[in-house]
Symmetry: C3
Subunit: 374 residues, 3 copies
């Protein structure tokens, strides 16, 4: 065991502040708060929309809704990843109906206006008869995109801080996990009847694990949690795997190690939340990534990907369903209690309740949230 190789993950003394309470009711039910969040957070911060492996080749694309906008993410002929509003400049028609695909151009299904993969309008029948019309005035609306460790982020703001600047606190921390090379074996989409903040608060503590996750608790004790990112937009730490070699139905690792996993990390699961829409869960043999997409005060869409080493896919010992089934079960247990919380918080009887000493990370997440929205 090489504990000295992991200085960042020593048990830190977390500050537990007696008196920290859950957020007031309005944050979970108010349409006005929801609109402000969409505006100040989801339309202003870098949000993760997927992984570069989803659009490996020029012409590959996928569509993702962000802050009520349908966005088209594509790789152009120069292999640059681009983001566009999925809206024709002629009469406003939705351009791509499929959730993903491949195409050498972007053509409107209504009047056949055609755009290059870099967004330039390159075809508009009969518009040459209008002398006032210039194609270069009608490029697709663009949004900024960037990569972090192979994940695609985009930002609807006009002049956002760079991804490099935002992610500077994490520099080097995840390098050995080999994230840019991984590939998803499965995506499951969940439609959850709960406010998106309840999803983060749920992910950020294991105080609930004994009652909610009997199977997880048996192999990864709730009181083994150690947090090393305790304040700010990036929060989390790790827990021990005390039985078996990974979190799977069988208890065995189900694939090649994802990266350069060393020493004690073979018996650890790392859980980090990235404000505002990512949950990143790293196991020795797979990485699980949740994208969290608020739809309404009381409704959230969540997509969950299970990523594996690209070479794992070709091997006989590859059993991704062993990991998928474990976490699909565990995810659903979490969504259920989040939905119960949403129901109770909507009551006039709800008052902010006391966070326990085991809930310092949810409290920190709430503080980060309030920095953005208040």
């Amino acid at each position: 065991m090489e504990t000295t190789a992991l200085p960042a993950f020593r048990k830190t003394t977390e500050t537990f502040t007696s008196g920290a309470k859950t957020l007031p009711r309005r944050y979970f039910v108010s349409p006005e708060v929801f609109a402000r969040e969409q505006d100040r957070i989801f339309a202003a911060q870098w949000v993760c929309v997927g992984h570069q492996s989803q659009i490996a080749n020029p012409g590959d694309y996928f569509v993702q809704d962000v802050a009520g906008e349908s966005l088209l993410i594509t790789r152009d002929q120069k292999r640059t990843i681009r983001g566009f509003f999925n809206v024709c400049r002629h009469r406003g028609t939705r351009l791509c109906e499929d959730s993903s695909g491949h195409s050498s151009t972007i053509q409107c299904p209504y009047h056949a206006w055609t755009y290059a993969l870099d967004g330039r309008l390159i075809g508009a029948p009969h518009m040459e008869e209008d002398r006032g019309f210039q194609k270069h005035d009608y490029s697709l609306g663009a949004v900024q995109t960037a990569l972090w460790e192979g994940f695609i982020f985009l930002n609807l703001a006009d002049q956002p801080r760079t991804v490099e600047e935002v992610f500077a606190p994490l520099a080097g921390k995840f390098t050995h996990w080999n994230l840019p090379q991984l590939r998803s074996a499965k995506r499951i989409a969940y439609d959850v009847g709960a406010n998106w903040k309840l999803i983060f608060e749920n992910y950020s503590e294991c105080y609930h694990c004994p009652g909610v996750h009997p199977m997880l608790s048996k192999v990864s004790p709730y009181d083994s949690a150690v947090n090393d990112l305790c304040e700010g937009p990036f929060l989390g730490g790790f827990m021990a795997i005390t039985k078996g070699t990974s979190l799977t139905m069988s208890g065995d690792a189900c694939a090649l190690p994802v990266g350069d996993v060393k020493g004690e990390d073979h018996a650890r699961v790392f859980y980090y939340s990235f404000f505002p829409n990512v949950l990143l869960s790293m196991h020795p043999d797979y990485v699980m990534v949740h994208q969290v997409w608020p739809q309404a005060p009381e409704r959230t869409l969540i997509s969950c990907d299970w990523l594996f080493h690209p070479k794992a896919f070709e091997r006989a010992d590859f059993h991704p369903e062993d990991a998928i089934e474990f976490w699909d079960m565990t995810n659903r247990q979490d969504w259920h209690v989040c939905e119960l919380s949403q129901q109770g918080i909507a009551s006039r009887a709800y008052r902010p309740g006391p966070y326990s000493p085991r809930e310092s990370i949810p409290a920190a997440w709430d503080r980060e949230y309030l920095r953005h929205v208040d």
Copy 2:
């Protein structure tokens, strides 16, 4: 026949006021009026939520929504009936998901905080690590409950008038019906596309019976109605049964008499509405109780129970379905015309229309309603 034994039920001269009209449109379609009703009536008056026989033993409970709140009604170890908001004091989670059940404590499904049946917090894992935390600060939110003739009423107001005071006008009037001892054989829930006030206005007159209820009209003539409670929160009277011995599909009584039914009452059905949410219909052999629960200006949930003498259940001559089928059919006929009224009243062409001389009770009900909401 002992008519002298029933002085209260002599034919009264009802005051018919020419010129009484139905309520203006806004009372049936406005979200603002609906919110005011929920606030000033359903969250301020005593409302019936069930019968004590539903929670006969300590630990029995059921859940009922009132004015948008999920409430937990339980009988504690001292056999006291209690009402609580169904909301955990820790993170606001809904405590009970089932509509009814039995449990020796109330435990939150999220982090296992545990409450006694009297609402005291008796378990909160790890909270002892927080020196500022005191269990007695986190009892369940309580609501006032009371019994009237075996029916459970609750009140969301902080300092309501007592049930005894409110029900004083009915003192002794229903004693011989044996209501506290009865038991429900069946509950049917109806989801009706009409404002809740239309349900009361419909129940309060038999002017509609010839066209709407052909079977009922044959055995209980619409013009036999005699009202003895003609103004205020309690309204109604009785009608004659002129064929058969009860209102059932067969025409025969289907169970033991519910109480000490005397003389002419063997050939009468008594219909009373209790403002704001009860319809009480007493037949010689069964009592039907509707609970009326407004959901939206144009939607109302109605639960209907058929209650019988507890000894009736064990006898060979017990045929509750004979009564249930009769009234389920009749109920649905009523809900249908209420839905048609809702549709028409939403029109810009609707104007308050003239109540007929046969509709003095609906007019009185409207007056009582306006006392609360205006």
Copy 3:
């Protein structure tokens, strides 16, 4: 070919104004704009609700929703077509539940108040006991109706301009089409997820035909369009049929000529929109009529009738399905791109886009629309 017989349909020089743009976003998504449209247009203008052949005999009726109101259109004993609010004057109950039927009187299903076909209250049980009550005070609410070329129009305004005045610009133009005598063989109702204005803009140009309607484009070239009504509430023109003898799946005419179709018109389809709710498409052998009914900013109901010569119905060469199938397919292609436009226009990235030289009629329709709503 008798082109001289058709002076009105000579190729006109349409004015194409470079710079005309689509309407701003709010016109397609705002509930306030929608309410204003319902008020200023659909409750203020003459709208088509059907054809006189639907109520050929006294007592025939049908029901149509206009501007949120359920209206009853009937033919009275004197053969006059009448329009009434479908609302009883007693307690506001919806009178007719069926979408069409035949009845010698109009009787309320609740308390049996009965009206003559001309709207007079002729029966109200027990109301004679109320000396203040006068039947003549409680006639059904009437709306104005009128005929134009056999089509029934109605108007919710108190003092609208006459239909004769409104339709004066079309005097004589459609006489030879024999419209009053036609009969519908089929009605299809479509529920479209798009603003109603997108339906008109779509109908008013064939710039979209090559991509959206491959089959139509083969037999009626998109660039054959000639418009002869280019400004105002009535807009449109004709296109050539260059293959076959009508627009049908087989390419053959499927019925007797509808009217006195002359010369080149045997190879033409005439397309006209009547503000605010009619699309009238005249083929040699059938007339297609769309009624457009806005339901919400992003939802429109459309009914489509296929009308034929009354003598066609009895003949062996009558194949209405040949025309119905062709346009049902083509209609659905149109609704789909309208729905895509609705989706894209809802985006914050949408900006009014440039109408092409082939879209002068949509631009003219928008101008007419703005005259009513701004």
